[in-house]
Symmetry: C2
């Protein structure tokens, strides 16, 4: 079987060549363990943190030469654990490998693999709309952003798994959703999902597009990127605007400092002059309530899950790198490793 | 009579030479106006914003050659307004002049001059503990910071009017207060006010002092300065810490950008990794409730107002400049223009 191992730590944006594909022996499930066949790998931008050579972020660094680890959906091939049976679908944090072994009773803080009901929704959605990204969007819009009916939310990286859900949740709440994404195709995809307006950060007239999309400013800025996009958004925020922050992809490749000038003085000036509220969060508190609400909105047709696929584990390194290069997919980008049995 | 006029807009930190002292004719109070004799001028750091040549901050820029305007305490010499009588003490926003005229019915958003009762507290405290700085400290600690019994708050510019109040309010609430100030004398002044620990940002071992003062980290960072002090504090904040921000004196002389490197990536990283909550505020919502609570704590001996004075209107430009240079006074620095009649 094949697996993706970490060849070197990333410098700046990750590259496909930071990984290599290796052949490995099929693993064996010991007592209390499950043998899993990987169906989907999520190329999650937050995984960038575990590819830093320095441990600024406080642990979680991958070992060189060892398999990359991240969110996956798998099917149980063989179970030596009473809570799981062969054929079960599970979502968890496992190796980027065609086959892998996990011990549910020795899992990390995320808990044991979560069993999925394929009758409720395609199991791939456990990595997107009905998984971490959906929960992150839910917490950011509702709990941290406190978005109200009639308000306007502007969302960076709106084409991503979290952003595309955040905009749809905002619409389900009766708010106005403005998305920022790169490229005309991706922006059109957001309009198709129901966003009220879009701005293409790769276009030469991005500033004008943003101004036209936010004629009265924004009450909430769902922050996913940082960098130039954010510096363009800040002047459009209303006094007292909330800024839930769940990521900052523009800075992932930097440490604590980027090249000058220093933008922190201007950031402070806007926080103070506009009485902005900024809060970092990780979507850990949306919980089952968030997933249930999202599932309900899906049933009502208010939310569609957006997914894009690339095929085969060999494609995983390139797919991960494309997240940082600004690919053209809308919604969660998944590597489809194998079909279910 | 003498007045302080704006000679030029400030570049970086304000200098005494940005102002000049002029002789002017004694003003006359028309119908509906008050003739005031200025007793105290507050050299408030936020006044720096109105000395920017650019209007980044959205208005409030002083006119060159016109008197400087800011918070003062005055005594009514003559009243042509039914709500005020000669001899009354008032706090308001007036010219830096020995004598001035105001029209209470045409005042700005801050409302008409506030009448003071000299039997309750010295009238100078209306510019400090029982005025804007007290309200700012109250709102930052209680409303924005949501400081709880047993928690630790760290306060930058702790020797200032706002910071020295914030620390004492924290103590009155049963929390632990750590102050950051410049110079041994000022730090000792904070300990005398009841702060539990201090760190001297001008000392070569500032980092070690800060670490010793915050062995278990801080739950709230009362932010008043920005710059190097803040970059030193951030690593000591606990997960979920709140950061009420009412000023950033280190950046007042800069526009939207400072010299590199760019510290915004590191700032983002800490917000996200620690789920920090940052909120700009201006103390406008503490209102009478805040002043009443502070007055009550004063009666109980839990809060002492800290004031320092320089004498004569001629001293105002230098006093204002000293705020940015890190003077040695603890508490509100006031220019004592004249004694009450």
């Amino acid at each position: 079987m094949k697996q993706v191992v970490v060849a070197r730590y990333a410098q700046g944006n990750p590259k496909a060549s930071d990984f290599r594909i290796e052949e490995a022996a099929e693993p064996q499930a010991a007592e209390g363990e499950l043998l899993l066949r990987t169906l989907y790998i999520a190329v999650d931008p937050l995984l960038r943190f575990s590819l830093d050579e320095s441990t600024l972020t406080g642990g979680g660094r991958m070992d060189l030469g060892a398999p990359m680890i991240g969110p996956t959906v798998s099917q149980v091939i063989a179970s030596n654990h009473p809570d799981y049976a062969a054929g079960d679908y599970v979502e968890g944090r496992t190796a980027w490998a065609e086959t892998t072994v996990v011990a549910p009773d020795k899992s990390d803080y995320r808990g044991p693999p979560r069993k999925l009901d394929p009758a409720l929704a395609p199991v791939s959605t456990a990595l997107g709309a009905l998984g971490g990204p959906g929960q992150t969007a839910y917490e950011g819009v509702i709990k941290v952003g406190r978005l109200q009916v009639g308000e306007t939310i502007v969302i960076s990286a709106a084409g991503g798994a979290v952003g595309s859900m955040a905009g749809q949740i905002a619409k389900a709440l009766g708010a106005r959703a403005v998305g920022i994404a790169g490229g005309r195709e991706k922006c059109q995809g957001l309009l198709d999902l129901g966003f009220d307006a879009v701005a293409d950060y790769k276009a030469s007239d991005f500033a004008a597009q943003l101004k036209a999309a936010l004629p009265d400013g924004a009450d909430v800025y769902f922050e996913n990127v940082g960098g130039d996009v954010t510096l363009s958004v800040l002047p459009h925020l209303k006094r007292g605007a909330r800024m839930p922050m769940c990521g900052f992809i523009a800075y992932y490749g930097l440490g604590m400092e980027g090249p000058g000038p220093d933008h922190l003085p201007g950031f402070y000036r806007q926080i103070m002059n506009k009485a902005l509220e900024i809060k970092g969060f990780a979507g850990l508190f949306a919980g089952q309530k968030g997933l249930d609400d999202i599932a309900g909105w899906m049933k009502q047709g208010k939310i569609r899950f957006a997914e894009s696929f690339v095929d085969g584990i060999d494609a995983a390194p390139e797919a991960f790198a494309s997240v940082f290069a600004g690919h053209n997919h809308v919604g969660k980008l998944l590597v489809r490793v194998a079909p279910a049995i």
